[in-house]
């Protein structure tokens, strides 16, 4: 009897209509999901596309070939600028009058004489000979060669006057301008001149900052998480601590910067703009992230493993160090690396403690003045020169490369240490 009723109900027209509606709902959900993923991917492609298309030119730099006669007296007077200029005038047939020559002076990078000087100092036997050297062109020549300064614009609105363009045309005609890989971008510190500016100072600053952050926040964070998760009694105090840690993770980073300014610079008198202070501030900011991630990872270790260890007579600390912590390690590592990646991309707190300064030297220690990659991006984005626009994008690409590297490492470590139970 009941079988007959059941059968008819599940075979009725009404039931199959309901079934169709259920499948339709499922299809709609799946389409909505795919659309969401599609939009997200599109955004990513647009973002990366715009950064790469704006920034890839920064990896190339125009150079000018000059036949420099290294006159002994000029070298002794360290008058390399004059040597280079003379060589340049010789290359350009129109350089006959003073006005043209003065205009041509701007074609060479202001760093070119130092390059030449370094070359001569490295090899003093060059003095008295004529050498073919390739020196960096000024950033405006570089931009012109890359097509960012257009010659069909009226001269008054153009960054390069007709005299310079004629000279460049002459240099191009006899093969004296080439485009080479911009090694300066990776080997130099910051500079007011785009063609002499590099990211290395910021990279080193970021690395030093991250080292301090990691050395402080990883051990403290994991220890705190282990204590809270495995040993602390569950009472009102630990609840309060937990709520506060969760709140700290949501505090805007600039607040941590203000805290660092007041405490580390104001109270302890640590040096301004130093990676040491940056690292301390970042450690404060990263701690809650690491504690929360580690606690989640510890919580995911099945209680049966703890019971097994306690059951054979392991002490609570042995249980944690021999069994629970190794099993939680992949999760802890992932959380830590993601926290570190966040610290690497953080700008606001560094602004508060003075790591936003214009620093040419590559920092050599934890207390040297330094800046960081995101701050460097911020400063270059603020610079008026056209050439800094592409360098900003290039710096973003370098930062993204580091972030992808770190996240990739997190995935790799998780896969490597992941264990089943």
């Amino acid at each position: 009897m009941s079988v007959a009723v059941t059968k008819s109900r599940y075979q009725s027209e009404e039931f199959s209509a309901r079934l169709r509606r259920r499948y339709a709902a499922e299809r709609r959900f799946r389409i909505a999901g795919m659309v969401a993923v599609g939009i997200a991917s599109l955004m990513l492609v647009v973002l990366l596309g715009s950064i790469i298309s704006k920034g890839y030119t920064a990896f190339w730099q125009a150079q000018i070939r000059l036949e420099v006669t290294l006159d002994k007296q000029q070298v002794e007077e360290r008058n390399y600028t004059a040597l280079l200029r003379q060589a340049l005038y010789a290359q350009v047939p129109t350089a006959t009058d003073r006005a043209t020559r003065r205009s041509l002076n701007d074609l060479l990078s202001s760093g070119a004489p130092y390059e030449l000087e370094a070359k001569v100092n490295a090899n003093p036997s060059l003095v008295g000979t004529t050498q073919t050297v390739w020196v960096r062109a000024d950033d405006e020549i570089d931009q012109f060669m890359k097509g960012f300064i257009r010659r069909d614009v009226p001269e008054s609105e153009r960054r390069l006057n007709d005299v310079k363009i004629a000279a460049i045309d002459a240099l191009v005609a006899n093969g004296s301008i080439r485009s080479t890989f911009n090694t300066t971008l990776f080997t130099a510190g910051d500079s007011r001149e785009p063609e002499q500016a590099g990211i290395l100072g910021a990279v080193v600053g970021s690395a030093l900052t991250l080292v301090v952050t990691m050395l402080l926040s990883v051990p403290i964070g994991i220890a705190a998480a282990v204590y809270l998760e495995e040993f602390a009694p569950k009472n009102r105090w630990t609840d309060l601590i937990e709520v506060n840690i969760n709140n700290l993770a949501a505090v805007p980073s600039i607040i941590f910067g203000l805290l660092g300014l007041a405490v580390f610079l104001g109270f302890f008198g640590l040096p301004r703009s130093a990676p040491l202070v940056g690292g301390l501030v970042m450690a404060l900011m990263t701690l809650p992230v690491i504690i929360i991630a580690s606690r989640v990872a510890l919580k995911a270790v099945p209680p049966s493993i703890r019971e097994a260890a306690l059951g054979v007579g392991a002490s609570p600390l042995q249980t944690v160090t021999h069994h629970v912590l190794p099993l939680a390690l992949p999760g802890i590592l992932t959380g830590t690396i993601i926290g570190m990646a966040r610290a690497l991309g953080e700008t606001a707190p560094l602004l508060m403690i003075g790591m936003v300064a214009f620093i040419v030297d590559i920092p050599g220690g934890l207390t040297d003045s330094a800046t960081a990659i995101p701050v460097q991006i911020y400063m270059w984005a603020d610079s008026p020169e056209r050439a800094f626009t592409e360098r900003t994008s290039a710096a973003i690409m370098i930062l993204l490369a580091f972030l992808i590297l770190m996240n990739g490492l997190a995935v790799f470590l998780r896969k490597k240490f992941e264990r089943r139970w």
Partner: protein
């Protein structure tokens, strides 16, 4: 019931000379509270040496709670409070003279769900002896691992893959691995909390045989939901109901001639 005449030297420490089956553990008026809720309402029980004591009763009656009191595994549970006396060889296990870690080395435990460490089979067994410093060098440790696996009846199946993970074994093998792990530290008492509930009948039969063999060297307390199992493996049975220990007697007595009608009702399947 056969009388044990062979009592091996390995299980001999601090044994009181009280008959053939001395009293190994004693519970006197044991009350357990989880917060405000009382789980055990005054349990009195004697566990005899080299015999198997089965604890039976419906779900939630407190038999697992009682079992976990015997090696203080309840210490790890927040809000759990134990009153009364539990003694091992006449010493209060909650007293000052016995440390929980030391107690758990003397009173081993096998859990409901097989829980091998996610390490090699060898390391699973060697872990306990290693932390207690039982083996001083490699050969000795190899010996302990081999003996333990042999006693647990697992040696022939795993001897060629001791370095493979213990989690790769079948459910029944994992449980025998856990038993081997428990006996590797040479405990005096082994507690088993429904050791066969996750296993198929063949694996269960294996474990039951094993329990019968282990009885020679160890005192065993087993919680089970399976009445046939209690009848097969135990010499003494205690029936728990709603936090009370209703009845404790020889297994034969309990199953053939229960005194309390609640026991009768449970073993005949009227409730539970």
């Amino acid at each position: 019931m056969s009388v044990q005449t062979h009592i091996p030297a390995t299980a001999m420490p601090s044994r009181p000379a009280a008959g053939i089956h001395g009293t190994k553990m004693v519970a006197r008026d044991v009350k357990v509270f989880y917060g405000a809720k009382q789980a055990l309402k005054g349990i009195n029980l004697e566990i005899q040496e080299n015999r198997v004591m089965a604890l039976i009763g419906p779900s939630g009656c407190g038999k697992s709670t009682f079992l976990r009191c015997l090696n203080r595994m309840n210490d790890t549970i927040e809000n759990c409070r134990v009153e009364g006396l539990i003694a091992l060889d006449g010493e209060d296990v909650y007293g000052k003279n016995i440390d929980a870690v030391q107690l758990r080395a003397r009173v081993g435990m096998v859990f409901q769900k097989p829980n091998p460490f996610p390490k090699s089979i060898y390391d699973n067994i060697a872990y306990g002896p290693r932390i207690h410093g039982i083996a001083s060098h490699r050969d000795e440790m190899d010996e302990i691992v081999q003996t333990s696996l042999k006693r647990a009846g697992l040696w022939n199946e795993v001897k060629d893959r001791l370095r493979e993970p213990g989690t790769g074994l079948s459910g029944g093998q994992q449980q025998r691995l856990c038993i081997a792990r428990a006996i590797a530290v040479s405990p005096e008492v082994i507690l088993m909390d429904e050791p066969c509930s996750a296993l198929d009948p063949i694996a269960t039969a294996h474990i039951e045989e094993l329990i019968d063999e282990l009885r020679e060297n160890y005192t065993i307390v087993i919680v089970t939901h399976n009445m046939q199992q209690a009848a097969r493996v135990s010499q003494k049975t205690a029936f728990f109901h709603l936090g009370d220990m209703v009845e404790c007697d020889d297994t034969e007595e309990i199953f053939t001639n229960p005194r309390d009608e609640r026991t009768q009702g449970y073993i005949t399947g009227r409730y539970g």
